[in-house]
Symmetry: C2
Subunit: 641 residues, 2 copies
Amino acid sequence: MPLESREGDTSKARLCGVEIGFSYTITDSIRFNIDQGPFDFILVPLMYPGFVPTEDNDPNSRILDHRLLPYAGSDFNVSCNRWNKLAYGKISPWLDLDSEDETTRMDAEIILKKQIEWASYLSIKACVLPTPKGNCCANYARCVNQILQGPNNMKLLVRFPFGMSDDDYSPGSNDLVDSWKTWNSFRLLCDYHNQLMVVLDIMRVLPPENSQKRWYGEPVTAAILDSDMFLTKTRGNTLYLPKRHQKLIADFFDHDIRIIISGLKVLNEAQFTTEGSKPHPLLPYRDQVSNIYKQMVPPSEQERLEFGMRDFLQLPLRPLRNYTQAKSYDTWEKDKVKYINYEIAICKALRDRVSNEKASEIATVLVVVGAGRGPLVRSSVQAAKRAGRKLKVYAVEKNPQAAIALDELIRTNNWSSFVYIVSSDVRDWKAPERADILVSDLLGSFGDNELSPESLDGAQRFLKKDGISIPSSYTSFLQPLTASKLYKDAKEIKEILHSESACVVNMYNVDRLAPSQEVFTFTHPKSFVGESNQRYQKLCFMIPNDTGSAMVHGFAGYFNATLYKDVFLRTEPSTATPKLKTWFPMFFPLRTPICVESGSRLEVHFWRCVGYRKVWYEWCVTSPSSSPIHNCNGRSCWMDL
Amino acid sequence: MPLESREGDTSKARLCGVEIGFSYTITDSIRFNIDQGPFDFILVPLMYPGFVPTEDNDPNSRILDHRLLPYAGSDFNVSCNRWNKLAYGKISPWLDLDSEDETTRMDAEIILKKQIEWASYLSIKACVLPTPKGNCCANYARCVNQILQGPNNMKLLVRFPFGMSDDDYSPGSNDLVDSWKTWNSFRLLCDYHNQLMVVLDIMRVLPPENSQKRWYGEPVTAAILDSDMFLTKTRGNTLYLPKRHQKLIADFFDHDIRIIISGLKVLNEAQFTTEGSKPHPLLPYRDQVSNIYKQMVPPSEQERLEFGMRDFLQLPLRPLRNYTQAKSYDTWEKDKVKYINYEIAICKALRDRVSNEKASEIATVLVVVGAGRGPLVRSSVQAAKRAGRKLKVYAVEKNPQAAIALDELIRTNNWSSFVYIVSSDVRDWKAPERADILVSDLLGSFGDNELSPESLDGAQRFLKKDGISIPSSYTSFLQPLTASKLYKDAKEIKEILHSESACVVNMYNVDRLAPSQEVFTFTHPKSFVGESNQRYQKLCFMIPNDTGSAMVHGFAGYFNATLYKDVFLRTEPSTATPKLKTWFPMFFPLRTPICVESGSRLEVHFWRCVGYRKVWYEWCVTSPSSSPIHNCNGRSCWMDL
């Protein structure tokens, strides 16, 4: 029974699981907890937990490779389909694969592999692996890596503490193991394997916020909430969770992390019953979790539409190379906020251009550069109406298909007397007169990355000396990211050459490690012709002190554009224009992630290079260590001139 | 005129160059310094050095992309062939590609590229690039990387100081730029490009030895020795070099680094003459360098034979998988030291086995495991003769081709009465009697890597309880390396899957970063049957404090074997058996090099894994940072059982 059944909610977070103890009759456990209980799946040990071979002194009873192990009953009554859908396997938590003792270590390896083989035989989809003991996990990782590289397709979820218990906590102490570091080492050893994931054990004392956030860039599948974390109000004897824990769980839901309630203690105390007459002893706990889910602001329609696009890498459009398709125009034209801002900007510019007194005499000459199917023509006409100014519009569009729709728009609206279609590349067009205002929307996700500077250079020829460009300037921004999924995808997607193409992506499971910084600025019209469009910027990001160490997998790119005076279009998160839909951020991957320490400096270089036939970015890191220079000579991604 | 013409000396180090000033008449420079002078090649500027555009205030004379630049005369009299053979191009040293000033930076980029284009047009083989100014070299590296990734095939040699000048030196101060660090960053930015190399400027104050050595693992082409480095004896007015400089130059020669004498000052002072009547003003300097070369111990015949094998990666043999070829037997049997040691060991074992009194009664049963064409049979027979003991030999060999030669050896020597050929895999052989002594030479470069443990397990069946195995034990060793060439080759050679196959290599241009440490030990006969041949070892190397930071590109593997009691075969460098020829070291590459700081800890894990059909190693680094686990499940290199 999912936490809430609401239309369109397909997130994994709506499922709630329960960690239960060992049972030889798994059918009963499923009936009690799922079929007749309030949970969606169980996390269940695959082997009798009391069984610890290395504590057994009788050599004849020691575990050997060929002997049968005390598994949870294979149970003919549970089909593989149910195992697959309803159960996570729990690997014996006492296994110590990095023990100093060779026998303990080698036995642990044998038992681990046997349990996984059995889980695989049952078609179990995922197994939860014990938390690494101590700092070193090399041998554990080697065994897990061998399993991952083998034929089975199971997810292996390693369990890590999130925060610490009251016992571990002493204010100001920093010498505790940073479990993220252990995880990072583990997954580096396993070379970012796709099936290697994380389950977090929520502890009483939560880590500082920047340290928490790092996990949002990691493949966290679920978080385990022990029944001990719940407190009881003196009055009414009702359960509740501390505020910080409530907020954390809401954040987890927001990052598609499902909750597993660990009910080992409660279930042990409760009378085990399969009759279903009494309510499930964990129901109040589940209700608390369910309440948090219900109180969250439901995703907007737009967000729901974008669910499927989350963390999905797309190569950016190259409008100068390929003709845009109708469906893309359809999508773009839905962005009301964008066109309203254009309308306001054009309106202001028209009023500045022509005084009220001369409004009826002078027709302002406005050129729409890249008119597409006409949304900016519409904004211009509406702006002129609002401003009470006369207008003459040249709508320049190089895509002949779009010009057909544009023509229809003009005829339908009876604009033919003052709107002229120019079916041409703006760089080739011989304008019959000079323009007062250039209007364009050639901005890409990183501002200049769809060659707005070069296109407007071409248009500046026919702009009056005191003419106005809308937008009048734009600045790109960058921000370092922990984003293991994006990194892995950039490595694996064949179209992303050398794992170094800039991509457009609706970022979701990422952690932004430091505030974004300005990169390149372009202003139009240019102060002198021939001003270079090459750029070089060195950026220095400081990793906050409470972050702990973190991995930089790449950079998010945004832009802020000034359309005219105080009218902006902004995608940089801290100043973003609300409800602007057109642009997802850019992602610039690093071919090899770079580890940064808290309080350290991350030095990054970005270039915008201009050749005879193309424009491209190159980028690199030089501190704390040097990366290769990415995309040399634009070998992997570029914009054709 | 090379430093010395001696037979078989094909090393590059025997060539000596001279750095000269700018000249519009390059023909004269070549005639004066090479044809009539004592040098083999010149290092010559490609552009008039006084020309510094950014110091020029007249905007009309500023360098622009399309204007002709003041090049050294293209000179129809110098053919491309001569340019190619006799000249290194020197790029203007004042170019500052990381200047804070944008104009300086952009001009520098244009001029650098123009000079390289011209050098490329002339077929110049290598250009010497200026030392990076300051710590940051990102933009410089970006420009160089764009050139390297372009169509031309020229070597780009970046110039770095080696040590410091008297002015820079203050004892105990450490805040000087470590030029190795700048180089390391530069080449990381250029992603280890093959054509990117180093030229070192030898300074007055040399760096500490461990810091020096790092350069031996780098692609250092030449070292420039300024005439200022030479001192004059008061008596006799003769030139000499300080002792440490002499030793350094000898070390450079030993690592195939040629010397370029920078004669700018001397040549400026001397009267420039093309008539050749006076001796060349730099002749005394060159003679000093030549003397150092002549005083070096000439390479042995063996070393000359191995010239061509230096730093050449070979995949190791797999004797259990493929039959060995006759030419391999030829090579192996040339190793006298090896067989003499076997003879001594067998001799001692025979004497221990049978007392003098019973020498004429008892025939010791000796089984040669993997007899090949019989060298160990010969050693055994000679040992028996020397020991005065009677012998019965079973020569077990699975390669039927080798058995033919073995048979001939036995018949020729009339050993047929006591030497029996067994043409079989030792693991399948049903021995007619139990053996006193097993003799084998199944050791690979890393000791157990040719499955000696598994083969001797098979032979132990027919060894008497108190029998002797020769070798009686062997231990492998590992040592971290800076070895940029080996790393690059491991990345580029297709047969080296995933850049992670262990290779056999005659290591030469490498730096050994810390003393080697023991890894796996095997002892024969085993104390109990079924003792596992799996192994796991965690190693901790300390990087010496005077090294500076360094890159670990992989690990060298060696072994020490005890044949019998005090008779050894050892390849571990600090204890190596002199003149042992059979084994080159192993190289275990890292897929991504790891940077270590001086005084820091390098933690490495090695596993010997045993499956049903194969044996393989896995390895990883966990400190200072975690690498992937290499060769998971033996996917890239393994030994078939």
